[in-house]
Amino acid sequence: MNDINKLLDKYWAGETNLEEERIIKQYLSQQQLGANNVEKDLFAGLDAAGKIHLSNPSFETNLRTTLLHKEKQNHKRLFHILTYSAAASIILAVGLFNMNQKREAYVVEKGVRYDDMEKAINCADQAMSEAIAPLKQSMQSLQPIKGLEGSLTPSYKKNSLAKKDSENIHTSNVYDDSAFNKR
């Protein structure tokens, strides 16, 4: 009895270990201590509390359904994340490629590199002018020949051209007549 009282003192002080608490419970449950014994009632009440359990029979079924539904949602979410990530990666890659391409636009003229687009175009323009200058000069020397174009046309060509002109005049007269008859 003394030992139990000592253990109970330890118990109220919160100093007992689990084994000592089991000894107290066992002792109190076996003793006939009379009605309304505080320790016995308290331990009996705590013992009953430890036996409370979930009484809903459909709990596990409902839980299983919920968890499977969550799993499906997680898979869907993962699929969306992967799809959007892939799309974003492609857009990023294309963007970077384009940027790189623009950076590569330059002209090298006489060993000088021009990265500025406007300068590069001007430079290319000037180079082209210089390249075609001799050609222009030779074209100018051909100008006097242009005046001889008529005299170089063969006579049979001249006749056929004259014929075509007269036919054109005739058809225009016919047209004018019909217009006059209508009136």
Binding site: Y11, A13, K51, I52, H53, L54, L68, K70
Partner: protein
Amino acid sequence: MDLHQFEIQILPFKDKIFRLALFLLSDKAEAEDATQEVFVRLWNHKNNLSSVENIQAFVLRVTRNLCLDKLRTKNRRQEEIDTSNNVVEETMVNPHEQTEQRNLLDFVKQQIALLPEMQRTIMTLRDIEELEFDEIAEITGLNENAIKVNLSRARKKIRDYFSSER
């Protein structure tokens, strides 16, 4: 961890989760909802569960945190537990003993519900779930001495309630 493993390793804690939720929330329906929510939270972290050293302590910590969130949002404190639908395992010999046991259970639940949250949690974990102090420390974040002090205060309060009410 797949659903089958989850059912084998985690689902057996359902009654412990339910009891802690019941003593913290003082409402059977809410405790049942909280139990389901705890399992959903654990399922969302199923890939990390295998690395947890003490699953029981982890599960009960998640339960406590969720119940505290619920208590904070609803600002519900010290309500009487609805005992109408709670089931006590049928271990008693005769109807008289069964009624007596149920009365004691109701009384214990009512008195525990009057304790401050930390004392309520500690008393539930120690005197109902029979957890070691290091596990309670893991769940509550308190050190062993603080746990013992809280436990002693809670037990003495309950003893005083029993002495004055019965």
